[in-house]
């Protein structure tokens, strides 16, 4: 799995960090997403997918064969 983010659209909702804290973090000064792990471990795939679906601003893109 490869995770890609389009941070220019991010509203800093924290939804991704709540769901997949191993994969995403947020900057302190504006809450914008930080990708911690572009190729997360298999055990975080489900939560990364969940974050991509639930991100309100459609920032997160998952490439399954990455």
């Amino acid at each position: 799995m490869r995770v890609e983010i389009h941070a220019d659209r991010c509203i800093g909702s924290g939804v991704c960090v709540l769901l997949a804290p191993e994969v995403f973090d947020q900057r302190d000064d504006d809450g914008v997403v930080v990708l911690l792990d572009e190729h997360p471990d298999a055990r975080h795939h489900e939560s990364a997918h969940d974050a991509a679906t639930r991100c309100p601003a459609l920032v997160i893109e998952i490439h399954d064969e990455g």
Binding site: G12, G14, L18, L19, D28, D29, D30, G31, P56, A57
Partner: protein, 421 residues
């Protein structure tokens, strides 16, 4: 599906609105048929606005997720509240970020995010919220029953949290109460709302000026200090509107969600029992209640370019109302969407909205509701309604859903856990 022409506007069916006892927790029953056969129809809304009503999950998600085609300019509740935004003709006032789109709107969201939606910050607030919930339950133990779960528990908890975060003393709170009540009441005119907001804005303006001179550790001070470090610092008025938004949302919306949610659990005793036995379900229970109860009157958007929703052509300038409650019960999301299940694993429900305007206070609301749900069933195992359910009144003609009052009684309130004190 047939496109309805503007000539028939006078004969449009009304926007279905949550009724009192008919649907105290869910969408009006009409929505089931609308989702099945008429997923996009013309309706007339209480403020006189005619709009396309969208009721299926996939379509609601598409509209909310595409802010370039579906703008917020008209104000999200202008179809049900006269005093709210008031349509596209009314200019956006300084700092009125809920009616902004694109980069302009992003600037405000990213300024508030570190205070209310950064998860590290939310986690730091956990002990504060736990302490407030526990102290309020201790206070209840010392009062005469029955008590109103809304006025005597939910509202004191949410007010204490926001008062603590913004460092606004308890004494100023009637100001917030008036402003919040006027903003969410369908009967308020734009003039009523302006009159109720004026004293609050004056108070917050003075607060901004004072704290600019001598900043503290509170959210308002921190927003002032961070503003000076940005490319486009915020004006005093813009800071005032952000503080007002947090205060008003923190004051009543979350309190109504708590009392509405606990009432729904009291009406689903098996679900309440599951929570009592396993407080670790509080997280999924919170999501489930937000899905099950969320956003009664729907959200308003304005079409920016001719396009289609589920095959129905819509034109630039048309209004669209997305029925969030209906979408959250759509069989396309969950086969058994009308069932309340506190153990349901997360799904992409739309109870906090979707898209860039998704609820700015959602993480704070989650923290507060989760803390209540992990604590209340354990500390008051015998919690019960003190009146028959039929006697519970619900807010009507309001943008904030929920019961007017929830009289409750109990046998005993168990002491707080050590760690939560």
């Amino acid at each position: 599906m047939t496109a309805v022409s503007e000539h028939q506007a006078g004969a449009l069916p009304p926007l279905p609105l949550p009724g009192e006892q008919k649907c105290p927790f869910g969408p009006p029953p009409e929505y089931e048929d609308l989702r099945a056969g008429q997923p996009v129809i013309r309706v007339s809304c209480p403020t006189g606005v005619d709009a396309w009503l969208v009721s299926r999950y996939a379509d609601v998600r598409q509209v909310l997720g595409d802010p370039e085609l579906f703008s917020n300019r008209a104000g999200v509740a202008a179809h049900i509240l006269l005093g709210f935004g008031g349509g596209t003709d009314v200019p956006v006032s300084e700092g009125e970020f809920p009616r902004m789109d694109g980069a302009e709107h992003l600037r405000f969201r990213r300024h508030m995010a570190p205070e209310v939606s950064n998860i590290k910050r939310i986690n730091q607030l956990r002990p504060l919220v736990q302490g407030i919930v526990d102290r309020q339950l201790d206070a209840l133990a010392a009062t005469t029953q029955p008590v109103d779960l809304y006025a005597d528990f939910a509202r004191p908890v949410t007010t204490a949290v926001i008062a603590e975060l913004l460092d606004v003393p308890e004494a100023d709170q009637p100001l917030f109460k008036r402003a919040a009540e006027s903003l969410s009441a369908g009967g308020s005119s734009a003039t009523d709302v302006a009159a109720a907001l004026q004293p609050l804005f004056e108070y917050l303006y003075m607060t901004v000026v004072t704290r600019r001179a001598a900043p503290g550790e509170d959210v308002i001070s921190r927003m002032i200090v961070r503003s000076d470090q940005t490319d486009q610092p915020f004006t005093d008025m813009e800071l005032v509107t952000m503080a007002a938004a947090l205060l008003i949302a923190g004051y009543d919306t979350t309190a109504s969600l708590i009392s509405h949610g606990v009432l729904a659990l009291l009406e689903h005793p098996q679900e309440l029992e599951r929570l009592r036995e396993d407080p670790s379900l509080a997280g999924t229970a919170t999501e489930e209640l937000v899905r099950y109860l969320g956003v009664g009157g729907g959200l308003l958007r304005e079409v920016t370019q001719d396009t289609e929703i589920a095959g129905q052509p819509v034109k630039a300038g048309d209004y669209v109302v997305v029925a969030v409650q209906s979408a959250n019960r759509d069989g396309a999301l969950y086969a058994d969407g009308d069932r309340l299940d506190v153990g349901r694993t997360s799904g992409a429900h739309l109870g906090f909205g979707h898209g860039p305007h998704q609820c700015v206070g959602q993480q704070l609301a989650r923290l507060e509701l989760t803390t209540v749900l992990a604590t209340l069933p354990r500390r008051i195992p015998s919690l019960r309604l003190a009146v028959p359910f039929d006697e519970i009144r619900f807010k009507v003609n309001s943008s904030v859903l929920g019961p007017v009052a929830v009289p409750v009684a109990w046998d005993e309130i168990v002491p707080a856990l050590e760690s939560g004190a």
